[in-house]
C-alpha cells in the first residue's frame, strides 16, 4: 500500500499535534456513526490483485479473440506504439490541471498543439481543450447556442440520424427550457437533411446533424447551413474526425460548431471510455464556448509561453451565471489524439481513412450481392453502412460470434422501423480475409 508512515513517524507526529491517537483526530464526527465496519473484500497484494484482474479480464471476449465489425460510435483502429509510450509518462499522467503555468508548460503546449490540429482538421477557427466525449460535446453545443441567443430562441432541431446516445443526452440536460424537434417519430431516418429544413424557424437556436451520420451516410450540408443561417440559427455538425482525413471539413459547409467523438484518433475502445469530446467553433463565438482554452503569450523573460485563457467564462468565476459547470477536459486523452495525429500526419491520416473507405465498400458490395441481404441506402458512405437482413440481427450475430466475429449493431434497438437492419463498421483492422469470412457466414444465413 501507499502510506509511507513508520510507527515511529506516527508517534512523533501525534505528539507534535498534541493528541494521543489517530482516533482523536476524528472527534468532530458524530460518535454514533464513527468508524463503521465496511463489508468489503480483504486487501490483496499487488501480485494477487494482478491475478484477480487478469482473470476478470480473461472472462471477456475482446478484439484479441474477435474480428470486429461493430462501430456505432466506437471503432477498433490501430494505435501506434508511440501514443501509449507518451501518455504513460508520469509528467503528463500525474499532473493536475495546468493552473500554475510556470510548472505546466508541457500540458499547456500539448493542448495548444491539440487545439491547432483540431481546428485544421475540422476547418474551424478555434477548438477548446476538449470535452468528455462525443455526446456531452453535443449537449454543450446546445447550451452554447441557447446562451448565444440569451435564451430568446428555444427550438433545437435534431437530426434523427444523430447518434441515439447523443440525442438522449441532450434531452437529459435540457428538461424544460428547450423544445427539441426532428428526432422523434416525426421524421423518417431514411430521409436526408432536407427533411430538417421545414422545422427551422425564427425561434430555432441550433440545428444538429452528424457527419458521417449514425448510419454512415455522408451528405453535403451546405444547403442546410444556408437555411439555418437564413433563419438566424446556428448549425452544429458532429463528426467522426478520422473521416475528415478524406472528406470535406464541415467548416467548408458553413458549420458554426463542430463537435465530435475523438475516440478513433488513437484511443482504445475500453468498453466505452474514457473517450474524447471534440468541440470547435468560429472565433466570434469563442466567449460562448464552454471548456478549457489555452492561449499563447509571453513571460516576463520575453519567452513564448502558454496559459489557460478566457477563464472568466468559467464556473469558478461566473458561478451560477456560467453557461456550463464544466471544470476539467479530457487532457490525457486529448494528448493521445495529439500524438496520434502527429504520428499519422498529413499522409497517414489520409491513408488510414482511405483504407477504411475502400474496405467498407468492398464489404458492402459483397454483402449487398447476397440473396436476402440488401443495402438500405444509396447515399455515399464512409466506413459504415446499413444492411437489411432476412432474419433478426440478434440471431445473425450469434452465428457470427460462433465464428469469432463481432457482428454489427442492431438498429432495431433504437429505431423500431429498422428491426432486422444491421449497421456494419469496417476499419483498417479488417483484412480482406476477415471480410470474406463475414460474407461467407452471412451467405450461410441467407441459404438457411
Amino acid at each position: 500500500m501507499f502510506v509511507p508512515h513508520t510507527q515511529k513517524d506516527r508517534e512523533a507526529m501525534l505528539r507534535t499535534i498534541g493528541v494521543s491517537s489517530l482516533e482523536q483526530l476524528f472527534q468532530d464526527v458524530p460518535a454514533a456513526y464513527r468508524f463503521p465496519d465496511l463489508n468489503l473484500p480483504p486487501a490483496m497484494t499487488e501480485m494477487e490483485v494482478q491475478q484477480e484482474l487478469r482473470s476478470i479480464a480473461a472472462s471477456n471476449e475482446s478484439m484479441e479473440d474477435l474480428v470486429c465489425f461493430l462501430g456505432a460510435g466506437a471503432y477498433h483502429h490501430y494505435i501506434p506504439s508511440v501514443v501509449d509510450a507518451i501518455i504513460q509518462r508520469g509528467e503528463f499522467l500525474t499532473a493536475y490541471t495546468p493552473y500554475q503555468p510556470e510548472v505546466s508548460q508541457g500540458t499547456l503546449q500539448a493542448i495548444f498543439d491539440y487545439q491547432s490540429l483540431i481546428a485544421t482538421l475540422t476547418g474551424m477557427e478555434v477548438s477548446n481543450a476538449s470535452h468528455y466525449d462525443g455526446s456531452t460535446a453535443v449537449a454543450e453545443a446546445v447550451s452554447m447556442a441557447h446562451a448565444n441567443f440569451r435564451g430568446k430562441r428555444s427550438r433545437i432541431v435534431v437530426s434523427p440520424a444523430l447518434h441515439p446516445h447523443y440525442r438522449q443526452n441532450v434531452r437529459t440536460f435540457n428538461r424544460s427550457e428547450l423544445e427539441i424537434v426532428g428526432d422523434a417519430d416525426t421524421i423518417d431516418p431514411a430521409q436526408g437533411p432536407e427533411a430538417l429544413e421545414d422545422l427551422i424557424d425564427q425561434n430555432t437556436a441550433l440545428v444538429i446533424v452528424q457527419y458521417p451520420d449514425f448510419f454512415g451516410r455522408i451528405y453535403d450540408y451546405t444547403q442546410l447551413a444556408e437555411k439555418a443561417h437564413a433563419a438566424g440559427a446556428l448549425l452544429a455538425v458532429a463528426v467522426n474526425p478520422l473521416a475528415l482525413g478524406l472528406l470535406t471539413p464541415p467548416g467548408q459547409f458553413g458549420a458554426d460548431i463542430v463537435t465530435g467523438e475523438g475516440q478513433p484518433l488513437g484511443i482504445p475502445l475500453s468498453f466505452g471510455g474514457p473517450y474524447l469530446g471534440i468541440f470547435a467553433t468560429r472565433l466570434e463565438y469563442v466567449r460562448k464556448m464552454a471548456g478549457r482554452l489555452v492561449g499563447e503569450t509571453v513571460d516576463n523573460r520575453g519567452q513564448r509561453a502558454y496559459v489557460l485563457t478566457l477563464t472568466a467564462r468559467e464556473q469558478h468565476i461566473r458561478r451560477e451565471k456560467a453557461t456550463s459547470n464544466i471544470c476539467t477536459n479530457q487532457a490525457l486523452i486529448a494528448l493521445a489524439a495529439t500524438v496520434y495525429l502527429s504520428m499519422l500526419g498529413k499522409h497517414g491520416l489520409r491513408q488510414v481513412s482511405e483504407l477504411c473507405y475502400h474496405k467498407a465498400h468492398y464489404a458492402a458490395r459483397s454483402i449487398g450481392a447476397l440473396s436476402g441481404f440488401s443495402l438500405w441506402s444509396a447515399q455515399p458512405y464512409f466506413n459504415e453502412f446499413v444492411v437489411r437482413c432476412p432474419v433478426p440481427v440478434e440471431e445473425i450475430n450469434m452465428r457470427l460470434l460462433d465464428e469469432g466475429i463481432l457482428g454489427g449493431y442492431d438498429l432495431g434497438n433504437d429505431y423500431p422501423e429498422l428491426a432486422n437492419h444491421m449497421l456494419i463498421a469496417v476499419t483498417e483492422m479488417n483484412s480482406r480475409d476477415d471480410i470474406d469470412l463475414l460474407v461467407d457466414v452471412l451467405a450461410e444465413v441467407s441459404n438457411d
Binding site: L38, I86, L93, P98, L121, F271, G295, Q330, Y362, Y409
Partner: protein
C-alpha cells in the same frame, strides 16, 4: 529554450506512420473529398522527442509533493495503469453482447456495490464522466424527484459560501435558483440562516463535508434534519471523501445523494486535467431516478453457473448522462485500488491523510495566520499575507515555492478567507517530505519579511517566468497560424 510547436517542426515529405497497402479492390472516392489536409509531417523521432521535451516542462506527482487543496493529489499506483491496459478490458467494445463482457459487468457491479458500502448508499451509477457531471446528475435527480411527487414549487437550492464554484453553476444549469448560505464563526453551516430558508420552495442543500476549509461540519446531523423536515434533500459534494473512508458513511449522516471523484479519492491519475470519473451514490428513495444504464444481476446464478450481469434502466431514470457506460478505464483503476486496500486499508488512508494535514497545520501555525484553529480533516487553509509584509500576496508565496521544487497549494480558494492558501498533503507523503515542506514554508515566510523582492519576482528556476495573462486574453492566439480576430 522554447520548444517549437508541432506545426513549426513539420517538414514536407516526412512520414512517421505507414499502413499496409489496400488488400481489396479500390472504390471510387466520394465527391465530398477534402482538397488539402495541412497536418504536420514528422518522423517518429520528431514526435517522441517533442513530447518528451514537453513532458519535462511539467511538475507531477511522480516528481514530488503536490499539496493542492481539495484536489487530493495522492500517488497514482502504477499497477492501476497496467490493469486498465489488459487487452480483455481495453479491447472490448461498449456495445458487445452482454454475454461476451461479463468480466466488465462484474467489475462494474462490484464497484457500484463497494462505493455504495463505503458511502452508505442504496445505489450507485458509474456513468458520470467527472465530478462536475456527477454533481449535475445528482442535482437533476433532486429536481426529478420533486417533479415526480408533483412538488413543482421546490426550485431553491441552498449553497454554503464555502462551496466550490461548480455547485452554483450546476444548480443554475438544472433550472434551480441558487441561494448562498453564510458560514458561522467556526466554519460550519449557519443554522439560523438555514432555518430562515427552510420553506416549501426548498429543493435541497448542497453540502461539502468536510468543507473547503477542511473542517467537518459539527452541525451536520442538525443540518440534514432541518432540510429533511421541510421536505428538501441533501446533496453531498464528495470531493473531500478522502477524509471519510472507513471513518463515517455520509449516507448514514443523512446525505441523500453524493458524487465520488475516482480521480481524487480512488487514485486514478489526473492526466493534466482529465479524464476523471464521478460516480453518484443515492439513498433508497432515489434509486429509481439514477441515470441509465446501471449494472445489475439479470439472472441469478446457482452452484454451477455464475449470475448473469446486464445493463438495466431504472424505472424513473433521469436519462442518459454520457454515451455508453462512463469512463470505464477509470473504473478498472479504482477497482484495482479498492481491491488492494480492503476495509482496514481504506480507514488507514483517511487516518493518515488527516494526520498529515494536522501535522502540517501545527507546524505552520504561528508563522502563517490560521483563520479557523480547530482540528482539521484532510486539508486546511492559512492566509498567505502578513500585516508586516504588506506587498506580499498568496500568489507570491505560491510562485516562490516553485523555486524550491514544490508545487504550490490551491490559491484564493475558498473565497471566504483572504489570500487563501489551501493545503492538502494526502496520505502518501512521508514525514520527511512534510518536514521539508514546512522548512520551505518557514523560509519563505522569512523571505517575505526580509527580502520580499525575491518573492515578487519568483519563480526564478522554472522553464518560464510569470506570464502576461492580459496579453493572452486580449490578443487571442488559440492555435498555430490563426491570429486574433482583430488583425
Amino acid at each position: 529554450m522554447t520548444e517549437p510547436l508541432l506545426c513549426d517542426l513539420s517538414a514536407p515529405g516526412r512520414v512517421a506512420m505507414r499502413f499496409p497497402e489496400p488488400d481489396v479492390p479500390l472504390a471510387e472516392l466520394p465527391s465530398l473529398l477534402r482538397e488539402d489536409l495541412p497536418l504536420p509531417e514528422l518522423s517518429e523521432v520528431d514526435v517522441v522527442r517533442h513530447f518528451t521535451r514537453l513532458s519535462k516542462l511539467n511538475y507531477s506527482i511522480d516528481q514530488g509533493m503536490y499539496p493542492l487543496g481539495s484536489c487530493t493529489m495522492k500517488y497514482n499506483p502504477k499497477i492501476n495503469e497496467a490493469m486498465a491496459r489488459l487487452p480483455g478490458f481495453a479491447l472490448t467494445h461498449p456495445l458487445q453482447p452482454i454475454e461476451t463482457v461479463q468480466g466488465n459487468l462484474l467489475l462494474m457491479y462490484e464497484l457500484q456495490e463497494w462505493l455504495a458500502e463505503i458511502g452508505g448508499f442504496a445505489g450507485v451509477t458509474l456513468q458520470p464522466a467527472a465530478g462536475a457531471q456527477g454533481e449535475l446528475t445528482g442535482v437533476l435527480i433532486i429536481r426529478v424527484y420533486h417533479d415526480a411527487r408533483q412538488d413543482f414549487k421546490r426550485t431553491k437550492i441552498l449553497i454554503p459560501d464555502s462551496a466550490h464554484g461548480t455547485n452554483p453553476a450546476t444548480s443554475a444549469m438544472s433550472g434551480m435558483q441558487v441561494v448562498e448560505l453564510k458560514s458561522d464563526e467556526r466554519g460550519n453551516v449557519n443554522l439560523e440562516a438555514l432555518k430562515s430558508h427552510c420553506d416549501e420552495t426548498l429543493a435541497g442543500l448542497m453540502l461539502t463535508n468536510p468543507n473547503t476549509l477542511g473542517l467537518f461540519d459539527e452541525n451536520v446531523i442538525e443540518v440534514c434534519r432541518l432540510v429533511h423536515e421541510t421536505g428538501g434533500l441533501i446533496y453531498g459534494d464528495g470531493a473531500n471523501m478522502n477524509a471519510l473512508l472507513g471513518v463515517v458513511r455520509p449516507g448514514e449522516l443523512g446525505i441523500d445523494v453524493m458524487h465520488y471523484n475516482l480521480h481524487k479519492t480512488f487514485s486514478t491519475p489526473h492526466g493534466g486535467g482529465g479524464p476523471g470519473s464521478g460516480p453518484v451514490g443515492v439513498a433508497a428513495h432515489l434509486v429509481d431516478f439514477l441515470p441509465y444504464p446501471v449494472v445489475d444481476i439479470i439472472e441469478e446464478g446457482d452452484e454451477e453457473l455464475p449470475p448473469l450481469f446486464g445493463l438495466v434502466r431504472p424505472k424513473q431514470s433521469i436519462g442518459r448522462v454520457k454515451s455508453f457506460h462512463g469512463q470505464f478505464g477509470m473504473m478498472v483503476r479504482a477497482y484495482t485500488y479498492l481491491r488492494m486496500h480492503g476495509p482496514e486499508g481504506l480507514r488507514m488512508i483517511a487516518e493518515h491523510a488527516v494526520l498529515n494535514a494536522n501535522y502540517l497545520m501545527h507546524l505552520l501555525k504561528g508563522h502563517y495566520h490560521l483563520p479557523y484553529d480547530r482540528i482539521c480533516m484532510h486539508e486546511f487553509v492559512v492566509e498567505g499575507q502578513w500585516d508586516d509584509a504588506p506587498d506580499i500576496h498568496a500568489l507570491d508565496i505560491s510562485k516562490r515555492m516553485m523555486d524550491y521544487n514544490l508545487h504550490p497549494p490551491t490559491n484564493y480558494f475558498p473565497l471566504i478567507v483572504h489570500e487563501a492558501l489551501m493545503i492538502e498533503p494526502t496520505e502518501t507523503e512521508s514525514k520527511q517530505t512534510l518536514d521539508r515542506f514546512v522548512e520551505v514554508m518557514l523560509e519563505i515566510a522569512r523571505e517575505a519579511h526580509e527580502t520580499p523582492e525575491v518573492l515578487k519576482s519568483a519563480p526564478h528556476i522554472t522553464p518560464v517566468g510569470r506570464l502576461d495573462e492580459v496579453k493572452a486574453a486580449k490578443e487571442l492566439v488559440l492555435c498555430c497560424g490563426v491570429g486574433s480576430p482583430s488583425d
